[in-house]
Symmetry: none
DNA sequence: ATTTTTATTATCACACATGATAATAATATA
DNA sequence: TATATTATTATCATGTGTGATAATAAAAAT
């Protein structure tokens, strides 16, 4: 999830709540009971409400057994420069040196590795650099495990639906 | 920053705001003007206020030129069961199959690989499973690059200091 | 086909987050 | 030392997020 609407880094809050709830096979009423709120209120949240109080999000997170993180994030490494991205993800390429040209010649291969083994920051930077289409393509490669593939299919589906 | 008080993952929100503001050499009045709020209100926030509306945090983030991230983070995989950890980190052992017994027979070797190439989740799960002492030991192995070693020495030093 | 469960929409009262304002204390500047 | 700037504390009016409730639609179960 990202709260700043200018950057699509994940699901909107409401969609995330729904996703977490349905993963647990809970009804709106069940989660509402656990979170100390009401089903119609939760429905409102899952349907696009966006102006939460943190206290509300805290209750919901607690009921769902997840951690609520709230971060002010400085603009990350500049991803306009290939050299910056290369330096960031180079550690993932233990078997072969990652050359600067590889970013443009073999985006699928690079992304596959990043999606499979990269940290959040590395993945985020690569996604920004290559774009969602390239990520979707890379997620379809044989070297990507089904769990990771499903993850990205869901994320990118959500990101495409929002545009 | 982490919003769930049960886990210490960073600065409280208010302290983070102050840190970002003073880094820019702005007064309370300056940030207040940019964020469309008031100096006394900002002072309240920086001094421990904790029950924010997201809209408020958005305004402040925008004024500070930073990204507001709001995440529900799943608790990581259960690390009580060796099979779960093994499944999680298995992709990192591309050159040799990771057998269940390896976790107990060669913890150093397993951890070295995880520390060097693991994702955040993988590292976190392994750390939880093996404990900090084992991580410290593994970080000292020859196959761990100095940067990673320093990273873990710092982290574990901090973790030891906190107890 | 009927009943039960769940989701969805709408209304409303109330608690409270927020910013405006004033006053005072502390710090920085001239 | 005097003045200006900034930080801090307190009060209060207002807008709004929230949950309770009712009604209805849709989906699932029997």
């Amino acid at each position: 999830m990202c709260d700043n609407k200018n950057r699509e880094l994940g699901q909107p809050i409401g969609a995330r709540i729904r996703s977490l709830r349905t993963a647990r096979d809970w009804s709106l009423a069940e989660l509402a009971k656990r979170a100390g709120t009401s089903a119609p209120t939760l429905h409102r949240y899952e349907s696009g409400w966006d102006r939460f109080e943190l206290a509300t999000l805290r209750k919901i997170a607690s009921a769902l057994g997840v951690l609520l993180e709230v971060n002010f994030v400085e603009e990350s490494v500049s991803t306009g420069a290939p050299a910056d991205l290369r330096a960031l993800i180079a550690p993932l390429f233990w078997d072969r040196e990652l050359r600067p040209a590889d970013l443009d010649q073999y985006p699928d291969w690079v992304l596959e590795r990043v999606l499979m083994f990269g940290s959040r920051d590395q993945v985020s930077a690569a996604r920004k650099y290559f774009g969602d289409e390239a990520v979707a393509k890379a997620a379809g490669r044989r070297g990507v495990d089904p769990k990771t593939r499903n993850y990205w299919n869901t994320i990118l589906e959500g990101a495409a639906g929002a545009s």
